[in-house]
Amino acid sequence: MGHGVHVTELFGIGKKYEIESSGEHRLAVIVHKDGTRELYAFEPGRESGPLVVRLDEEEAKRVAAVLSGTFFSD
């Protein structure tokens, strides 16, 4: 199941997940120890100055539900 995702431990902070994508943006997610998630999106070819989206655990689950197609609205 882990294909396309590289996991690195960041001591004292949490885990870094680098996600392979065929699109032009480089993606990574940092899961902090306190449950906060940060989504990093890099412009093609650029190493710095990423767009960073900060989500708490609840928000992350909501985004995940939408992305995975399991979100239901009434």
Binding site: T8, L10, F11, I13, K16, E18, G45, E47
Partner: protein
Amino acid sequence: MPAELVALGASGVVAGLLARFGRRVALPTIPAFMLAGILLGPSVTGVIDDPHELELVAAIGLIVLLFHLGVEFPLEQVLASGRRVVGAAFAYIGLNVGGGLALGFAFGWGVEEAFVIAGAIGISSSAIVTKLLGELRRLTNAETPVVLGIIVVEDLFLAIYLALLAPVLGGADSLGEAAQQFGIAMAFIVGLFLLARYGAGLVGRVIDTNEEELLTVLAVGLAILVAGFAEELEVSDAIGALMIGLVISRTSAGERVEQLILPVRDAFAAIFFVVFGASIVLGDLGSVLPYVLAAIAVTLATNTLGGVLMARIHGLNQRAAINAASVLLSRGEFSLILATLAIAAGLDGRIGPFVALYVLLLALVGPILAARSGGLSILLPRRILGGFRFVERVPIVASCPHLESIEPAAPTSDVCEQCVALGDGWIHLRYCLTCGATGCCDDSKNRHATKHVHETGHPTIASLDPGQNWRYCYEDEVLVPDPDPREVRREAG
């Protein structure tokens, strides 16, 4: 009593407010707290009339600070992270502490003082470095896991260094007494280490409970108790707190204690930093300025060298080296802890203001340099990281689709056949990951590796030089370091 309460309360409020304003000029919290202490101290406003009144509270701050460090210490992960990270960490620490020691002796304040200065100059502030990495959005950088590994190893080094300094800080008068105190300190550390390794279950049964209120009371009490015992044994309370934290981290209650202790730590540690500041006489700061400037110069030099070494060991480029070096510049809690212990041991009075001013100035300079490190990487000549000519500005990524879609070929030869046929030499060798064809690098005269890429359209190459395990993709123009064998296993599962 009322005076102490007011002093204590003012410490918290002023420290907090000053730190809030400090954020606007990118000043980290620790030096802001220290500044608050200087302002509240007897040499400025005198709200804290006598810093010794708040000694107990400050001591608790030191204890809980180190206790938390021990509790969150990722011991197994560090040991599992491999020799390269530990190697880079030792290189970094060796350079910085070594440089500090040399400087300490050069100051001529005394042998014991030199050792304290070595530690105060040599060890980065884990708190500030971690915060900086997050603020600078560098958590996904290639060098960040190594930087974090370095600060974790530094924590461990601190424990050992404190043991080493036990005779210095305990006031040994003879070599025999010094050896004895060092022996007791090491025995204490080893004893608690063994407790962590084999007795964690027992300790867990004693303190673990579902009720958070009780767990907090037990954990804080235990930390202060063990620290107190350590003091009684003439081993620094700092070591006691750190080691018992390590013990707790191996118990079932470890993770919960780590969370519960945080607010306690933040509240009391702030008082520790404030009281340190309050014990500084403002007038002394001017007289230590030349020493501080020398120390900063040494720190800049040893840090940069350490960053380069780290990059060499891990196969990273100049950008990563400067990023790491500049972010690791910051000094803070450990330097202040060492200074506090030194003052308590009655060493040269200049150590206090020296460390205070040093930490303060570096706290201003460090974050600024770290933010500008991209531009600064131009200053590093290519020679130092030889063979990385085109890597200077190239992003390093974890993977690229072209690499993932092929079965990497083995190199067909260990020479550049085309160069040999022409009678030419080469500098470095590369081999194509699609078909294995070996060619010379872009620094060489003929650049056969790149020619092969253009002729065949095979996009990826790897370095054939021993110790260099990176791959390069011409399509994406990215550098991909060889993955950790452990990561590959994790991905497969």
